[in-house]
Amino acid sequence: MQSIRGSTRLLQRHRFSISNTLRFTSSSTSCGSWSENESRRLGFDSFPCTRAATYLISSLKNVGFSSSAIPKQNFTYSSRCFSTTGDSVQGSPESDCVVPQRIKFKRLDKTAKHIMQIVDKEAVEEVRTLREIPEIKPGYIVQLKVEVPENKRRVSIVKGVVIARRNAGLNSTFRIRRLVAGVGVESMFPLYSPNLREIKVVDKKKVRRAKLYYLRDKVNALKKH
């Protein structure tokens, strides 16, 4: 990675010097020896002959060849030197080393994130095929059947207003607010938890917010919204 960045910076710095030097040398030198001369002049010897570096060198040469013919388009060509779309530069690479088709690959940490996304989606699909999970949005009045593992009974039908929903793949959660024995209680459940046996949407209220935390200050009966 560093060599690519370094070489592109070098290219930008030598953009002006390229146009000057190549006008002198293009007439006299041939293809093969030109590349060596130019590489030496620009100090490409120090860089390892990676796939990307050779691609840059070949595109640089194409800059040189076209610069003598069309001097004005120098800068646009050289700025396309490090584009990721393959073979955007004109002309076939007439280089010494073989340049294979450029394969795009992500940085390792980006690849890891992408893999986690895929794994997450698969897990969600798995749970969705197992149980039917309706869409839950804030403002819905929802009735849940929650299983409590320690009691071994199908306890607690929980009925309340959904006041928030957080989307995080398999970890998506939603909050329910209800009145229990005179005390307001908010419970948060993971949407894909196996303890949620059944989710039923009883009613839908129109709200203009994603998070209904203002209901905490409202004292009137919560279910009436």
Binding site: P149, E150, S156, V180, A181, V183, V185, E186, P190
Partner: protein
């Protein structure tokens, strides 16, 4: 997260109405108390003609907090107020009735009498 100077409602019929936390029982210099912790508190407001009087120092166990209580299965419970139940030295409640919802964790912390008196165990 109850700390000294916190006012708590009383969730039983022992005679007190409002308590102020003075100290948290447990390790020394313990900062916060959660559901199921015992606190030492002073009665700030009491119902007249009951055995408990104002400015009496008693112990209480916290049964409801505005701070969330996290459970192992990923669910979270959050009440709308802070409340406690007055207990004696052994851990038995002084009142005969308990009001409001009580979380299930009290039963595991050996406050079974309180949990059995509760109208709703969450």
């Amino acid at each position: 997260m109850i700390q000294p100077q916190t006012y708590l409602n009383v969730a039983d019929n022992s005679g007190a109405r409002e308590l102020m936390c003075i100290r948290i029982i447990g390790a020394s210099n313990r900062r916060y108390a959660h559901i199921g912790d015992v606190i030492v508190s002073v009665i700030k407001e009491a119902i007249p003609n009951t055995p408990l009087e104002r400015s009496e120092v008693i112990r209480a166990v916290i049964v409801r907090t505005c701070k969330e209580l996290k459970r192992n299965n990923g669910t979270i419970i959050r009440y709308d107020d802070n409340a406690a139940v007055v207990i004696d030295q052994e851990g038995n409640p002084k009142g005969t009735r308990v009001f409001g919802a009580i979380p299930r964790e009290l039963r595991q912390l050996n406050f079974t009498k309180i949990a059995s008196l509760a109208p709703e165990v969450l």
